[in-house]
Symmetry: C5
Subunit: 104 residues, 5 copies
Amino acid sequence: MLLGQVVGTVVSTKKTESLIGLKLLLVQNLDITGKLAKGYHVAADSVQAGLGDVVIYSTGSAARQTDITTERPVDAVVMGIVDTWDVNGKTAFNKSEPLEVADV
Amino acid sequence: MLLGQVVGTVVSTKKTESLIGLKLLLVQNLDITGKLAKGYHVAADSVQAGLGDVVIYSTGSAARQTDITTERPVDAVVMGIVDTWDVNGKTAFNKSEPLEVADV
Amino acid sequence: MLLGQVVGTVVSTKKTESLIGLKLLLVQNLDITGKLAKGYHVAADSVQAGLGDVVIYSTGSAARQTDITTERPVDAVVMGIVDTWDVNGKTAFNKSEPLEVADV
Amino acid sequence: MLLGQVVGTVVSTKKTESLIGLKLLLVQNLDITGKLAKGYHVAADSVQAGLGDVVIYSTGSAARQTDITTERPVDAVVMGIVDTWDVNGKTAFNKSEPLEVADV
Amino acid sequence: MLLGQVVGTVVSTKKTESLIGLKLLLVQNLDITGKLAKGYHVAADSVQAGLGDVVIYSTGSAARQTDITTERPVDAVVMGIVDTWDVNGKTAFNKSEPLEVADV
């Protein structure tokens, strides 16, 4: 899994049937210090994450292992909203001090 | 899933049987601001996307989870034509202002 | 799928049983303009591709979805010989003007 | 598999049901000389690894092939704590001389 | 599949049960000219490869398609010892002139 921040949503009306009903989040990667990193995924949302939330997401076939993504053609899913993580015993991110969403 | 733009099509007549009947799109990656990014995929088309369309596509085993790609040897599928996406609440792409297709 | 050029073959006599009988092609990546790009794969051949042929190939579990690769430990397969592809309506590659094989 | 060092843990209370009960480790990649390398994964823990441990971990569908990760949406799992590895017959890492955890 | 050289072995005694009995090789990537390239994998050994051997290996779910790796949490397997490969009709590697193992 990787750490990312929800920075937006993607809307598609003309799509393959099996995608209908999924919310598609735009997730920008974070490095382990909590800074924005290269790369993003459009990920299905399984936890009602919102703009700015720091999340963990899975890619590949793992992304089909949630109730809402089974047998759907998704290769990325947001699976959890992160409360905290630490690096070497020090807090690297705490939800009580949310990350701002960078303009791009 | 990733965001991309359909920039062309690939024609192959001598191919493995299970590929017959699939339209193969050349999809150039986009970054989250809607600019062309490194990397491309040749992806099966499940939504009748056309030249210049901005799309979402899946890679890996997820690409076999549409009606037209089941049990076929494809590792990428275009699953939706994107209407809009936003970053930090601002529209980053809107289909009403299509991206030009860059010459290469 | 990616575009590549067959630049050679790999011979292995001491190998896992399930590989026996597969031809292993050395496939160099191409970018969408038809130039050699970074990266290569050793791919099983499902279409009798030859030296210099421009091909499409799949990676990952998709590579096991051809008749000759089912249940084999291959993560890449050449699935088609490319006739042409176009970018923005202009021909980027045409088999009638083959790419030379670069020396390395 | 890759070599990595456990540098922290990730806590998520609002998560997809199938993640409940898994410990999520923050694993920083190591190169073959034992130096920190680019890239990290949040990986499920199947061996009760602790802070600073040097580990091997798998990614992709392989990550669901342990008792604790079956049918869970995880794409990375720590599978072993490394005792030693050697490169060209010389010890490159020995658990008896643990790596410090770098601050970030 | 990729080409690599066996440069060492990894020893782990505290590991997930399904890994027991597998030999774990440290495989450094090679480019198509036979030079050491970036990247490595810890791969299960299915062909009794030894130090210095040039090998082909598979990653991802393909790595579970050998007798010794079925249903094990491995994402890389060495499947063959390479005798030769050629590029543009010229021998790029021949086992009769083995590659030295670089110190690191």
